[in-house]
């Protein structure tokens, strides 16, 4: 009886939600970095096409690539460039570019580092803030988990062939790295530029601060593309959504959050 009444409540409540009449569902799966922006785009798209349900799942850049390839979803998302072996059969559409900022606690005396220093810190070679001109404390490095698109991009651009030290603390999203750094005076981390807020301080790398103009000009080098991946050629509703995202309206949504427009190709 309890089950019946709960079922009734549940069904009743779901009836109250918005219901597209003959709605088509667009399934988007992939990067946790792209996820919040894809959600914003889905929200904006609802105003334009209320009959389309855009369903966004996070899971990781790699899951996005694989799901797109397997045809499990309409659009796979990735926050890192495709590897050569992944490119086959996929249409790659760059929807935005995102810088990766190296962040520290706002109270940290350091304002800038060279990319070599960042690399050595994450490799575990530099372990004390004094060694780079800072306070008398050990450095607590925070990184993303293996397989994260953000980590992959960071490794590719900053670390090169050097491995990130296993002693680094691991948090499972941009937001949680930001929270960890915001509350730990000796921490250093890397997050999407779009997610930097007043709680953390973004360092200048190799003399260039991660401002919008430095990102556009390429002076700030730590940058990665946000990709939409479609199996074969996009068509129908998928193509329409991609058009929306690349249009002025769609780009406005992304720019408002701090992302850059896709590179001119």
């Amino acid at each position: 009886m309890v089950v019946l009444s709960l079922t009734a409540v549940g069904l009743g409540l779901s009836g109250c939600g918005k219901r597209p009449s003959q709605g088509r569902t667009l399934r988007i799966v992939g990067s946790t970095s792209v996820f919040p922006f894809a959600e914003l785009l889905a929200e904006a798209y609802r105003d334009v096409r209320p009959d389309i349900v855009v369903d966004v799942q996070a899971g990781g850049s790699t899951v996005g690539v694989v799901s797109a390839k397997d045809g499990i979803c309409d659009i796979g998302t990735s926050s890192r460039e495709l590897r050569p072996e992944e490119k086959e059969g996929l249409t790659r559409i760059e929807i935005a570019r995102d810088g990766i900022a190296v962040i520290v606690h706002p109270g940290n005396t350091i304002d800038e580092l060279t990319s070599d220093q960042v690399r050595d810190i994450y490799a575990g070679k530099i372990t004390h803030w004094r060694q780079v001109g800072g306070a008398d404390a050990d450095i607590a490095m925070v990184t993303r988990e293996e397989g994260s698109g953000t980590r992959g991009a960071f490794e590719e651009i900053v670390m090169g062939k050097t491995r990130i030290s296993p002693r680094a603390l691991v948090q499972d999203s941009n937001g949680s790295i930001r929270e960890a750094v915001a509350t730990s005076p000796n921490a250093i981390g890397y997050v999407s530029v779009a997610l930097v807020n007043a709680k953390v301080k973004a360092l200048a790398v190799d003399g260039e601060a991660p401002t919008e103009e430095h990102l556009e000009s390429g002076a700030y080098k730590v940058m990665r593309p946000f990709l939409f991946l479609v199996k074969g050629a996009p068509e129908g509703e998928t193509q329409k959504f991609i058009d929306f995202v690349l249009s002025a309206d769609g780009q406005k949504v992304l720019k408002a959050e701090g992302l850059l427009s896709p590179s001119k190709q």
Partner: protein, 279 residues
């Protein structure tokens, strides 16, 4: 060394124990109290029935409440028949022996499986193998595996508590085994069984690890069981991860806690009535 008088030892021990108990209770109560107090301010009708905005940083949690209810209903719908049936069989139909030992072993092991491993299984079996994809159905079925042992155990206890004399009367009146079960034992054990079910609801609502890989993280209000949906517990986890101790986080947590506590409180009340009736 002078011997300490046993009475003194006892006095010290009593004080220490009282202190320990106080610490335990204060800790637990203050955790719950803190979250609820900070979160209640955020909860209003707009919060409970509104849609999330801006990636869930603002707005309401309605879709998540719906998803949580869906998952709870699905897992109960599966585990109650299975659980109650198993409990009836173990207590009424089979004397303790080889078969029951094996079955009990299965139940105990099932109970011990970490929720994340069940999530792995749910992902590989429901989401992929059965092609159910990320959906409330996958999530509900996985959670049902989590609560099944619990329902079996609590139902068993409730059924065992029914005095043997009741059954004997049923037989004396000419009833079959099944009739004695359905018309005498079960109605009598019902409050106890209900209590177990209601407690299981609390566990369903709080599940995260087994749901996050099976039901997905979609922000939409689900339209059917085949849709993906984010439960309130998972939403809370993601909020903490992305926004730290934000208002929305507190609000979600408070909603969760209030829901679970009221459910458990009802169960406790029912149990008291049951005990009073049987004794």
């Amino acid at each position: 060394m002078t011997r300490v008088h046993p009475k003194t030892k006892e006095f010290i021990a009593k004080m220490a124990l009282r202190g320990i108990a106080a610490v335990v209770i204060l800790t637990l109560v203050s955790i719950v109290g803190y979250v609820i107090v900070k979160g209640v301010a955020v909860i209003d009708l707009k919060f409970l029935f509104g849609q999330p905005r801006s990636m869930g940083r603002e707005g309401g949690v309605f879709p998540f409440i719906v998803s949580s209810i869906y998952i709870t209903v699905i897992s109960l719908a599966v585990s109650i028949p299975l659980g109650l049936g198993s409990a009836i069989y173990l207590t009424e139909y089979r004397a303790e022996g080889w078969a029951t030992k094996v079955i009990r072993f299965g139940i105990d092991c099932l109970a011990g499986i970490p929720s994340i491993v069940l999530g792995l299984f749910g992902f590989s079996f429901f989401v992929k193998f059965l092609h159910l994809s990320w959906s409330l159905l996958s999530g509900g079925l996985t959670v049902s595996l989590m609560i099944l042992p619990f329902i079996i155990r609590s139902s068993e206890e409730a059924i065992r508590a029914v005095p043997q004399s009741y059954r004997e009367v049923a037989f004396a009146a000419g009833g079959t085994k099944w009739q004695s079960v359905t018309r005498v034992v079960l109605p009598c054990a019902l409050p106890g069984v209900m209590t177990g079910i209601i407690l299981a609801i609390g566990k369903c609502v709080g599940e995260t690890a087994s749901v996050i890989f099976t039901a997905g993280t979609s922000l939409r209000t689900p339209q059917s069981v085949f849709d993906s949906g984010r439960t309130l517990a998972i939403h809370f986890y993601l909020l903490v991860r992305e926004t730290g101790a934000s208002d929305m986080a507190y609000g979600s947590a408070a909603t969760l806690l209030i829901a679970i506590l009221s459910v458990n409180f009802t169960a406790y009340y029912l149990m008291r009535r049951f005990l009073r009736r049987v004794s």
